[in-house]
């Protein structure tokens, strides 16, 4: 069979991504459709597998009325997100700029800063946190609370210290983001910096006029990554609630409903982020 150049090109392209397309239907589209179907049904395990009976929107109603855990968990997740995402981004950008400087021991420091990528995913970190290993000793050792109490009113101090304590966690969560920022910094042409220096720009000006604007698309990428990462983190309250519903209470239909509501919620958040950045990136 003879094909024209163009048709052959198209066929080859599809040949390369064909395994992904098959995978997409097997592991994404069909499961997603099935789980959406489950949300409108009640599933009862029988001899021949699961039997579904149509119940309409009952599962959705349950999530917002009977289930006392779902809505609070969702708002908690949202609160954590609003606090942590900006902190992670600022810290990651700051670290990446530090690491990008040509200096002695560059490789060593980079190795150390990427250490969280190795350790901070999953169960090892959780165990460390349970044992109080991931928080810095200064908060307990120097009795910081009592010391500062003399200067700052307690109502203000407590959330402040809590915030400072969660900073170490933020640092631990920003490994991949540092990495992405660092890779982006490498792509900024040195000629731009040279020109700026020739014209007498200070480091501060250079950051705001060159580095930061060049990094904005990557800030977007990192925001997406951070949000997705924290939403899909198995330590997350909603994830645990869902797994409990499915594997302990064996309520498959309601579990799927939580999953879908969560998914819709994530998409709304990502949509807001996307709109916010589209306006900024237009400049």
């Amino acid at each position: 069979m003879k094909l024209s150049m163009k048709k052959r090109h198209i066929a080859e392209g599809y040949a390369f991504i064909s395994i992904w397309i098959v995978g997409f239907f097997l592991f994404m589209a069909v499961p997603l459709g099935r789980s959406l179907y489950y949300t409108f049904n009640e599933l009862k395990p029988t001899k021949d597998g699961l039997a579904a009976t149509f119940v309409g929107l009952r599962n959705y109603r349950q999530a917002f009325t009977t289930d006392i855990h779902f809505v609070p968990l969702l708002t908690d997740t949202m609160k954590d997100l609003i606090v942590n995402v900006p902190l992670i981004l600022i810290f990651a950008m700051f670290s990446a700029i530090l690491l990008n400087r040509q200096s002695f021991g560059k490789t060593f420091f980079r190795g150390v800063f990427f250490l969280p990528v190795i350790i901070a995913s999953g169960i090892a970190l959780r165990k460390l946190l349970q044992q109080g290993a991931a928080r810095l000793p200064i908060f307990n050792d120097w009795n910081l609370y009592q010391q500062l109490r003399a200067f700052i009113p307690g109502d203000l101090l407590e959330p402040l210290l809590e915030y400072a304590d969660s900073l170490t966690l933020v640092m631990w969560d920003s490994g991949v983001q540092i990495l992405i920022f660092l890779a982006a910094l490498q792509t900024i042409s040195p000629a731009l910096y040279e020109a700026a220096k020739m014209d007498g720009a200070t480091g501060w000006e250079i950051f705001w006029k060159i580095t930061f604007p060049m990094l904005i698309p990557i800030v977007f990428v990192n925001t997406l990554f951070t949000i997705v990462n924290s939403f899909t983190n198995p330590d997350n309250g909603i994830m645990n609630h869902l797994l409990h519903t499915v594997f302990v209470s064996n309520n498959y239909a309601y579990g799927s409903t939580i999953g879908w509501l969560y998914f819709i919620f994530i998409f709304m958040v990502l949509g807001i982020v996307f709109l916010a950045f589209r306006r900024r990136m237009a400049y």
Binding site: I10, E12, G13, Y14, A15, F16, I17, I19, W20, I21, G23, F24, L26, F27, M28, P31, L32, R34, S35, Y38, G49, L50, S95, L98, S103, G111, F113, L115, V117, I118, I119, S121, G122, I123, A124, L128, Q131, G132, A133, A134, T168, L179, L182, A183, T187, V221, V228, T232, I238, M239, L242, L243, V246, Y252, G255, S256, I258, G259, W260, Y262
Partner: protein, 328 residues
């Protein structure tokens, strides 16, 4: 040129030179101060990252009595390797190690092969519907795994794949599995950054599309491969979400699962110390577990990937820079 004019030029040059020298001197002192600050900052931040590791090593070598002893902060009185021995037995180390290795290495290798293949197709070919498939690829990355947990579990159990490695292997071989979409995106970015000259030369010499890819482009993707390999191995290694769904028999548990269920082994010797231990833990607000053994268990669990990281670290960092993860 007459003499006086010459002289004036000379003095001007000299003046310029002294000014330059003074300027340089100023700059040097400033840069010393700057550098001190810079390294101080780097060391402080590095300390935060290394601290848990040091803490873990130190704690894992202590006896319970050392923890209660206020004079001991970092260096224990005697190195207590017994913690490791206990942890080794309790988390069923060898079994878990082998299971973890199969899951991590198997998935990582398959993901490299499949994601690179798919990424190349997306990066180099223009075909109708490409935009749609790209959008679906990003969509795949955004869907939380919990949303499709139930149908996938039913699907795999219908196939009889529960308690086998197939739920890890098959998705990985098709560019899915843990964070598969992200890996495809990394390869797309990498292949986009490569020049087309070599492929064109190969095509003109009569190599087919797959041969060109396999013999020329795939070997060039080493920097991206190292990045994907390390991410994939590490994320699979630490993952308990998927194994908890698909591996239900303790003999098939991977290391992370064993670690998650381990809360310290109270043997006769350490039971005596437990009284003090409880007080200690109440202060920390955690359950009265045998912290030293748990620390030893965590250490044992992450040791293989730490060693792996030591070896590939340099290549990994360079790979990040060269793979153009961040390139648009």
């Amino acid at each position: 040129m007459n003499m006086p004019a010459m002289r004036s030029v000379q003095t001007a040059v000299q003046k310029k030179l002294t000014v330059d020298r003074r300027f340089l001197y100023m700059r040097r002192t400033r840069s010393i101060a700057e550098n001190t600050f810079y390294y101080l900052l780097l060391f402080t931040l590095s300390f935060v990252f290394v601290y848990p590791l040091l803490y873990m090593i130190s704690q894992s070598l202590m006896r319970p009595s050392d923890i209660a002893d206020a004079t001991i902060r970092w260096i224990p009185k005697s190195f207590e390797l017994n913690n490791y021995a206990e942890a080794f037995k309790s988390i069923n180390y060898f079994n878990g190690l082998i299971n973890s290795a199969w899951i991590s290495l198997g998935s990582a290798v398959l993901q490299i092969i499949s994601c690179s293949f798919i990424g190349y197709g997306f990066a180099r070919y223009q075909f109708p519907g490409k935009g749609l498939w790209m959008a679906l690829l990003i969509f795949t990355f955004l869907v939380p795994p919990t949303t499709i947990v139930v149908p996938l579990y039913i699907f795999y159990s219908d196939l009889g794949w529960i308690n086998t490695l197939f739920p890890f292997i098959f998705p990985s071989a098709m560019g899915f599995g843990l964070k598969g979409a992200l890996f495809v995106l990394i390869f797309i970015q990498f292949y986009r950054g490569l020049p087309k000259v070599m492929e064109e030369a190969a095509r003109i010499d009569g190599a087919g599309a797959f041969r060109t890819y396999w013999t020329i482009m795939f070997p060039l993707a080493k920097p991206a491969m190292i990045v994907v390999f390390l991410f994939s191995v590490v994320w699979h290694w630490n993952d308990v979400f998927q194994p908890n769904m698909y591996l239900l028999i303790p003999d098939y548990f991977n290391l992370a699962q064993n670690l998650a269920t381990f809360h310290g082994n109270a043997n006769a010797d350490s039971l005596q110390q437990l009284g003090q231990q409880v007080q200690q833990s109440d202060m920390l607000g955690s359950a009265p577990t045998l912290m030293n053994q748990i620390m030893a268990a965590v250490m044992l669990t992450i040791l293989p990937i730490l060693i792996l990281y030591l070896f590939v670290q340099r290549a990994f960092v360079q790979g990040i820079e060269r793979s153009g993860i961040a390139g648009e």
